[in-house]
């Protein structure tokens, strides 16, 4: 290898080396001559002796310079010059190829960036990635398998205690906490991590130190924080912050160090601003969880990272972790007998990939991304077949030139390499265009409101992620080379055949029909794929429409969510009530606020869940998941949820009065079929506790899962709830919440005592992010589908236009023989419509057979909806007609006189 590199370097400076060798040999010659003279030969003789000795100078020179000549490289240089010259002569062709391939490859570069971010890219600084895994917990629940990354701290301790397969374990969680104090306080992403987490990475602090195990202890760790590099730079100007205090959620932390640039742990999708010991965070919660999180199995909130010991296989590790989980399940059941038995739940552990997108339970977003990536690759296939078509046309146009060169003895191999050089050059330029397009697409996506996708794209070129930046360019280059080979080889193989002599004899119009079949086939392939993509796009767009049109059971556009983040000393109930009262009064005094309510949570944020016991129902849990929310009286008015029967909760439902609840219509139906639910009663948590009476039935409300079929939900009074205090205030506004959000936040913030903090968010934003995967599917499918349509239309136009030009003479003759112009119009248009029809038929077949797989990604939309199939086919045929019409009119305008005179 080294020798070849040296050879390559020599090749680059071959002219200088030639010159030096010549000098060296002249020196040699001089020395020989001088030696001969010294031996007593006369000057003339000496020269001839020297020349004789040195033999044929040119031969010596030639054999030495072979060492730095690389013939194929010389030839390549020649081919490259030839290709560039050829392309300069046809800039339109070159531009079309570069743009078409640029779009095709660019689409793939975009999707590779997304997929890479979601599931492939190794984390920065991660050590020994092959043996590092995330733990996924799996168990049976009501007949279905539940897979979850979240678990309890106690379970994490159990896993460490009862397994032997892992050399390292770390627990971690990502939280949005208010960082800073006063007006500068902002909600920011914070990583709460065990001290062992740092050992998984080869990262060293750029300032100070990381925290150690002595600072990460139960019940509560030390109040220390490590800053992320970016946050340190932007908020602290990179000064020495060691020893400074920073308010993080409920913790007043001392800064002890700064992580190196780009270090985000395993969460690089939304990098944290700082790292807090996990026990410090858990131990400072303003709830009973702070005291029980390390002994009880109640609060599943964190993820676990493990490293396998060397020599332990994945299967062994999985078996080991699973037995620990079973043992731990038993221990949890001893605490809480209500949970299912170990035999029934069959708890298992999957030791799997760090990136959840590639894990056993990928998000809908990740699955949609894979689909869109497949779509992008189809766009590339279309682009390639289009460009291959163009190349084929070019090769055909040069057929006589080629035949002539072959006849003159140029080898076919040489011709092939020349064509490949041309196609590869164009493809690589297309690759560069693709990178530009991909970059631009990132910005465009951000504008279009696809934050999730654009974040994945944008973060790849911020300075917080300087790692692995070669990944996208190298994939792009690989795609470009593959595309260049394909589009270069197709026409090359085709044109390699044929009879030389006939071509040479054929004259200008020789062999008109050649290649037409091949080009038509390529065109049908393009149309087919475009139809498939457009059908997919239409299905996604319709599904997004259904998602948007779905009744949520509340007004999305009028409600503002206010989250109260309590900080400072742990509150008792009376201060809670007081603060709630102050905030409520402040909110109600604002003229834009129509009504306000407290709730334990908000739709898509979280729901609460507890065991239910209903007289006359054997196992409520078997019927489904029943979630609840603790609210105040005005909740339904604020959310705009209709009470179908009975009454809403009222201010009179206080502690001390009988417990009441409002249930969703679905819940009433499933628990008390064909009965009146009003007045019925159920027990929460345990059947020995007092019963809760149903006083009202509300319309169904989407609480956590748009796609989910079950809407079993009930509402209890905050004042009658012992568990939740209600940290969310819901405001119904008279105007657009997005516009008023910051004013309201400031008014509320001013009214708040102490260091507590409020955040505001329009409900619409929360709902939109829950619709993200459909939105992504619809946008990307549509973008790529239209791209495919455009490329296919250009291809169709190109083919028809070319064949019209080739048959110009024929049209003229037809007209001279009495054909009407309309006949020619029909002939040309008919050709393109026939191709389009064939493509549509094939496309519909392919789409129908693929519909099964796309079904899970759609929302209330049949993947075989005939309306979609018919509309798309019609659109395609119209496009084909339009694309063919320009050349068709040109054909109809052919000049019969010119045609007859030509020969």
């Amino acid at each position: 290898v080294r020798e070849w590199i040296a050879r390559l370097i020599d090749w680059l400076q071959r002219d200088r080396l030639d010159h030096e060798l010549r000098q060296e040999l002249r020196f040699h010659h001089d020395q020989l001559e001088r030696a001969a003279q010294a031996d007593g030969a006369p000057a003339d003789d000496a020269r001839s002796i020297a020349r004789r000795r040195l033999g044929n100078l040119t031969r010596v020179h030639e054999s030495a310079r072979e060492r730095w000549s690389i013939p194929w490289l010389d030839q390549f240089q020649q081919d490259l010059r030839y290709a560039l010259r050829g392309l300069r002569r046809s800039p339109g062709f070159a531009a079309t190829v570069v743009i078409t391939l640029g779009l095709g490859i660019g689409a793939n570069a975009v999707m590779f960036t997304v997929v890479d971010r979601l599931m492939l890219r190794p984390h920065a600084y991660l050590r020994d990635a092959g043996r590092t895994h995330r733990i996924y917990w799996q168990w049976q629940e009501r007949g279905t398998t539940t897979t979850s990354m979240s678990t309890e701290y106690r379970r994490y301790l159990d896993l460490g205690k009862w397994t032997t397969s892992f050399s390292q374990l770390a627990g971690f969680s990502e939280r949005d906490l208010a960082v800073g104090s006063g007006e500068s306080a902002r909600e920011r992403r914070v990583s709460v991590i065990s001290a062992s987490y740092f050992d998984f990475f080869a990262a060293r602090p750029v300032l100070g130190r990381f925290f150690g195990t002595s600072e990460d202890t139960t019940p509560r760790g030390a109040d220390v924080a490590v800053l992320a590099h970016d946050f340190w730079q932007t908020e602290f100007g990179g000064r020495d912050v060691r020893g400074e205090r920073l308010q993080v959620g409920d913790v007043r932390a001392t800064i002890i160090g700064v992580a190196p640039p780009g270090f985000a742990g395993v969460n690089d999708a939304s990098p944290p601003v700082l790292f807090l010991p996990i026990t410090t965070f858990a131990g400072s919660r303003p709830s009973t969880d702070a005291l029980t999180y390390f002994t009880r199995y109640q609060w599943g909130w964190m993820h676990v990272l493990v490293r396998r010991k060397p020599g332990v296989t994945l299967a062994q590790a999985q078996a080991d972790a699973s037995q620990a989980f079973r043992r731990s399940w038993g221990a949890a059941r001893a605490q809480e007998p209500a949970i299912a038995s170990t035999a029934l739940a069959n708890p298992r552990v999957l030791v799997s990939t760090l990136r959840p997108g590639a894990g056993p339970d990928p998000s809908l977003e990740a699955r949609t991304a894979i689909w869109v990536a497949v779509v992008a690759s189809i766009v590339l296939v279309i682009a390639c077949s289009n460009v291959a078509n163009l190349f084929l046309a070019r090769v055909l146009r040069r057929k006589r030139e080629t035949a002539l060169r072959l006849a003159l003895g140029v080898s076919r191999h040489r011709l092939l390499t020349q064509w490949l050089t041309e196609s590869l050059t164009l493809a690589l330029v297309g690759g560069v265009a693709a990178l530009v397009i991909a970059r631009w697409a990132g910005a465009a996506l951000r504008v279009s409101g696809l934050e999730g996708v654009s974040r994945l794209l944008i973060t790849s070129d911020t300075r917080s992620a300087p790692f692995m930046d070669w990944r996208v360019p190298s994939v792009t280059a690989a795609l470009a080379i593959a595309a260049g080979l394909v589009v270069g080889l197709v026409p090359a193989f085709w044109s390699g055949r044929g009879d030389l002599a006939r071509t040479l004899r054929g004259g200008v119009r020789g062999g008109v029909s050649e290649g037409v079949r091949m080009r038509a086939a390529l065109l049908v392939v393009q149309t087919t794929l475009s139809v498939v993509l457009l059908i997919g796009a239409a299905l996604f767009v319709r599904s997004l429409q259904s998602v948007k049109a779905m009744p949520l059971g509340y007004d999305v556009d009028r409600v503002l969510l206010v989250n109260r983040v309590i900080r400072g000393p742990v509150f008792n109930d009376s201060t809670h009530h007081e603060m709630r009262r102050i905030l409520m009064a402040t909110a109600q005094s604002l003229p834009v606020v129509e009504s306000a309510a407290w709730a334990s949570s908000a739709p898509f944020v979280s729901t609460s869940y507890t065991d239910l016991f209903v007289p006359g129902v054997d196992s409520v849990a078997r019927l489904g998941v029943f979630t609840y929310q603790a609210t105040t009286a005005d909740y339904f008015r604020t959310m705009g949820t209709r009470i179908i029967r009975g009454r809403a909760l009222s201010a009179d439902d206080r502690a001390g009065t009988p417990n009441v609840a409002v249930v969703s219509a679905s819940m009433a139906r499933v628990l008390w079929p064909r009965q009146d639910a009003l007045g019925k009663c159920f027990h929460m948590r345990s059947d020995t506790l007092p019963c809760t009476t149903v006083v009202g039935i509300a319309e169904d409300m989407v609480q956590r899962d748009i796609g989910g079929a079950q809407r079993y939900h009930y509402y209890i009074s905050v004042d009658q709830s012992t568990r939740t205090r209600g940290n969310w205030m819901l405001l119904r506004l008279r105007t657009d919440p997005a516009r008023e959000a910051q004013n309201i936040r400031q008014s509320l913030q001013r009214a708040l005592p102490g260091t507590s903090y409020v955040t505001v968010q329009p409900l619409r934003e929360v709902v939109q992010s829950a619709q993200q995967s459909w939105r992504m599917g619809a946008t990307m499918f549509l973008a790529f589908g239209l791209l495919a349509l455009f490329v296919a239309a250009v291809g169709l136009y190109g083919v028809v236009a070319y064949s019209v030009t080739e048959r110009k003479h024929e049209w003229g003759v037809c007209l001279a023989l009495g054909a009407q112009r309309i006949d020619i119009l029909g002939l040309v248009a008919g050709q393109s419509v026939r191709l389009a029809l064939a493509g549509c038929a094939l496309g519909v077949l392919v789409a129908l057979s693929a519909s099964r797989w796309i079904q899970p990604l759609l929302f209330q939309q049949s993947p075989t909806d005939p309306r979609v199939y018919i509309t798309i086919s019609a659109v395609l045929i119209v496009i084909a007609l339009v694309a063919a019409s320009f050349p068709a009119f040109r054909a109809a305008r052919a000049d019969p006189n010119g045609a007859l005179k030509a020969d």
Binding site: R2, E20, Q23, L25, F27, D30, L32, V60, S63, W68
Partner: protein
């Protein structure tokens, strides 16, 4: 004295050996080999210069332009560390081969 061809591959070893004593230009190397072999080994320039270029590309020797004692510009060749290593290996191989040939020629 009759001139004899050398085995293929042996030229590299001889050049390296020569350069391990002193850096020299191409002419000097040829003269050195001729002198020490008492005119038996005469290297063709047609083999010498390609061999020098090959060895330079392999990184065994380096080339640089210098003034000769007679104040002429000449390209001198220097042995590199990897060249010395190569020389050692070739010498060992050569000795082994020589011993083997001897045993065959004088089987006692």
């Amino acid at each position: 004295m009759t001139r004899r061809d050398i085995f293929p591959g042996m030229l590299d070893m001889l050049i390296l050996k020569t350069l391990s004593i002193q850096s020299m230009h191409g002419y000097g190397i040829a003269q050195h080999l001729l002198r020490l072999s008492r005119d038996v080994i005469q290297v063709e320039e047609g083999s010498l210069y390609p061999a020098l270029q090959r060895m330079r590309q392999k990184g065994w020797i380096k080339a640089e332009w210098r003034q000769t004692p007679n104040n002429q510009r000449a390209r001198y060749y220097l042995i590199t560390a990897s060249g010395r290593h190569m020389l050692g290996e070739q010498e060992d191989g050569f000795k082994e081969l020589l011993a083997a040939v001897r045993r065959i020629m004088n089987p006692i």
